[in-house]
Symmetry: D2
Subunit: 353 residues, 4 copies
């Protein structure tokens, strides 16, 4: 069934595999009149692109976005925005030795069981290549939010067992892992280097904050803002968990502590991560996303072939020791898409709006 | 905007507030021919009902379900199943002192900001009363799954800082908290008693497992099985986090460990929690859900009135020190609803199905 | 698959069969703050109810609506509005002789082929009884529209070969068939009487006009206002055709005639029926709906049993010689539901709204 | 709001304006395993293309479809199919004199009122150019249907006041207007020639038949097959009416005539056009579509400018005297898309499927 769309009002639909000629996205339901230009979108895409530091894969994906519709004189027209990114640098031969086996931790097996087809060229539709479309579409959502005073920032708070102790947002751009804790960042960088040598990988946690979100976003009871953010985040490749505000940690607190006290000046704390009853409170929206260790590693692994025969193999090619680093702009994009959708939805909740 | 439906094919829509005359649910898209009777649905509802032990609220909600359509001769007909549960024992006067203030940790403030209306009778639509509809509808989903060899079991693995160390599923029914670890259960029961005395509350973590799920469920890239489960769980009242398989813990592992090795006899481990690339693997689906401390506590709290004036108050009435206990059948119901929807969806993925 | 919902933002979902205990509807996505009361809804329902004149079926359906949620202090709260209408006067025994055969022109055969079930008690879900839910929900939509200066009026313009030549809207309430042409109405009444005597039926055409609709409603290219109105109307029982503005007749015109000329004072004509490019022009929306002769007739008919054996039969019970008469409030309701949905949708088309 | 998608399971989303660089479509929810190739799709597109006879516009649109995803080894993979058609021969200068006025009968005015933007380059999103995407996507739906024994054929049954009296399907390909009545076709051709000389246009009626449709397609009560077909057809540019089976004519019949009698050998007549109670009967599905006279004519017309000043003008450029001729493949495509969606949906109506 059709599962390649996200959002109800501000709605994106994507297509494309990692080793086909192109990927693309249609943004439908974007209101007319948003000023948005090619450079703005391209800049967001460039943040996601591989090959930007020695810590991530050196694949060169140019990721130039082509905007085919929906903009006129630098503004959105209200009609669907069609964007295409052509694939290049697709070394399909890197995948020749994987043609007939199921890579553990990958979607090879499950796609084969679901669709009855083994498209062995890379990861096909399951590749993180698809997330470029999320970032391109997310850029437009982001512009809509910015025009409404809402900003989004994401960063890495852990790689493996190394955790950021600080949230120094000025630090994020200064290190190669995008971590808001200078010391932790140094340890993280060393770990990545070590993992590259070992031919192994590890996971990480991305935190993302939205500031300036007005109260009232979210549609109970099933389309709670928290529920839609959870779906948004877990729909990203390699994500295995999500939490809002204090998340799992709040289960250990007493209610008398966890309840965010309201004062005439607003909430005194934000354990809730900006969402109560599925609706935004006006406080910062805080979400954390758990990203598993990349499945593609150089280390020799055991698996089976399509015919069920055991086999040893090693993934050649150029892969990331920690995909969480490059996930940050994708997490931001999904936050932007979810908020843009709910910002629009919120205009319909009262007749006096 | 309409946010009170869940599911695409097997789709539920609910209505009703805690202090109105009735709540109800329409199950649409349920295939014809499922044998399901009143007793089966009522049994699931009875599991959720308050007043079953001295650890949970002594409110007496009879929760008798009335089935008005969609069944004939003990089988579903393919037409929508309408079910209504009348409210009783609604002591609205318990809420008189809350009429003009915003209870911290509650949805009072956010509903007021969103809809411009302060319905002070209990929590209205934000009340967990609505989850009775999920359980009633979930019972039908569960029957469809059972007929396909799929079973679901949920249990409590932590309350506050007390964690279950074991997963002895036989133990679950034997203690008042539904925990699969006898020793932990004893500590949990003591903690609940203590919290009642203190007039405070704490959170907990529910784990739910689905067994017998065939490979191939889930519709990448946005309607991944994991993404839809995340939305399902976070849509439940008081939920602040969700994880699949090893979840947040897997971020600390190496890829060489976290990758579940495939052998001719199947996967050797299940770090992935039964989902790869958003599609079920055939292994057990494992999900954990973080539930915050109940907001309603007897302890005196500070807050503000609708007019913004600081005020002290205490929630009278009969409330749960740990709502996670009663959340278990709701978590199971949301798992059942999500799987039933995707089981049906999966029939459309190949022309040879 | 779930097919019992209509609308995207202002969305209704219905349940119930003609011979079960109750039917009902959930209105989801209705904005908070609309003043609407029981009497207003009941009045619309009373217009649809059978037994109001000697020209329609004398069945006595009381059709008292019970509103279980979504209203507080006489206003909508933004949460789902649940309404239930209990069935009464269900003479199932009238259907005993139909138990094992397929009535021609009815949905007996197609429901049986689709769902594998023969619910022989009346027409079950296919009964026009379901339209009471449309009218109840439509009353709320209508109130929202009225508050925005939009009014809707429907009437009968033909029964069999008798056509209204005039559109004297004051005449509608004065005759038993609801026709805006006094002379035609007299002929229609005579025809109905004659058909009752013959035990036969005939069809009719309902015209519905919406006045005060602002320009800008409709979402090209698939959710054109005209397309959604077409779906709305053809989803009504017994409808076999729909047209907008001049409709089929405009195919015979020259473009130079059919193009509605614009002047500084607005459009000089309205061949388009108030919709251009799928978007409302600000002119009256004009729709006509073709309703087939009722399938249930006293006259002896030929058909086959479930086992395929030819059989003669006659439909006993109390049926309408022309269901188009009672269809008018249903057609109005579907117009109201479609316009309310698109009125809300239109608020999202521009950032400067 | 997002309105550029059609279908629930088999779902298309389109983008693109007539005078931008490209248009395109994503087909999502297409099952894996359908054999479909570029030539098959291109052939359908070539049928729609202008410039094929002297009766239609001589614009040369090459309409070469580029398939970017969703196919592997000649079969659909179950992942979204992305297709792009680049625009060429876009003589924007033809539109220079229309820049500041509203063409009567066009969507200029309504798009401007809705979106606040006047994209004067041709008709932008409202152009029939978009229908190329419907035809490309429809080709894939058509292949799915053919593999299930379902075929679709459309043809012109009237232009202006000239009506086809016969349904000689062999005749359709033999005349320039695609009419199944040789004599009528000759009159139609003459009328078109005359209209070209006059610089005027006229409307027409397209009839489309689907054969081999199994009983059981359609999801009451709102997603009736007839209702979804009505929406599909009225979503096409210039369509002002639709009818199923006898349609408006059946309103003049008696029930005793209009009821299609069932015999052991099936239905003896097909007044219902293959749909009863919103569900297919197994008989031919018959739909007729009313297409208004093209709005773009050479004849001098009166209108107003954006500023409301009266003005005379004439549409230069290359336009069709009767757009109904070229609408046939589009009508067929919408029939194919609707049936493919409902064919898939029908697999979910019973547990024994």
């Amino acid at each position: 069934m059709a599962g390649n769309s996200f959002g109800e009002i501000f709605r994106i639909t994507t297509f494309g595999e990692s080793h086909g000629p192109a990927i693309g996205v249609i943004v439908d339901g974007c209101p007319a009149g948003i000023e948005v230009d090619f450079e703005y979108i391209q800049r967001q895409l460039d943040r996601r692109r591989p090959g930007q530091s020695d810590l991530v894969t050196p694949r060169q994906e140019k990721d130039t976005v082509h905007i085919y519709s929906g903009l006129f004189d630098g503004k959105t027209t209200g009609t669907p925005i069609g964007m295409v990114i052509f694939n290049s640098d697709m070394r399909s031969k890197d995948y020749d030795n994987l043609k007939d086996l199921f890579r553990p931790g990958h979607a090879d097996y499950t796609y084969f069981k679901k669709y009855g087809i083994r498209d062995y060229r890379g990861s096909g539709r399951a590749s993180a290549r698809e997330t470029a479309c999320r970032v391109a579409a997310g850029a437009i959502a982001r512009k809509l939010l910015e025009d409404n005073g809402i900003s989004i920032i994401g960063y890495l708070i852990s790689i493996g067992t190394i955790k950021a102790e600080k949230r120094n947002l000025n630090e994020i751009g200064k290190n190669k892992v995008g971590c808001p804790d200078e010391r932790a960042a140094q340890h993280m960088e060393r770990l990545i280097t070590q993992l590259k040598e070992e031919g192994d990988s590890t996971g990480g946690i991305v935190e993302v904050i939205a500031q300036g979100v007005p109260p009232g976003l979210g549609d109970p009871v099933y389309d709670k803002l928290s529920a839609d953010l959870a779906k948004a985040m877990v729909s990203i490749n390699a994500v295995k968990g999500v939490e809002i505000g204090d998340g799992f940690a709040c289960t250990e607190l007493r209610g008398s502590i966890n309840n965010d006290v309201m004062s005439p000046d607003g909430f005194l704390t934000n354990h809730a991560g900006g969402i109560l009853g599925g609706i935004s409170t006006g406080n910062d929206i805080i979400v954390r996303v758990a990203i598993k260790p990349a499945s593609s590693i150089k280390k020799t692994q055991h698996t089976i072939t399509k015919e069920g025969v055991p086999i040893e193999f090693s993934v050649e090619g150029r892969h990331d020791p920690c995909v969480a680093i490059r996930a940050v702009p994708v997490v931001e994009a999904m936050m932007a898409l979810t908020l843009a959708d709910h910002l629009l939805r919120s205009k319909l909740s009262r007749v006096d709006y």
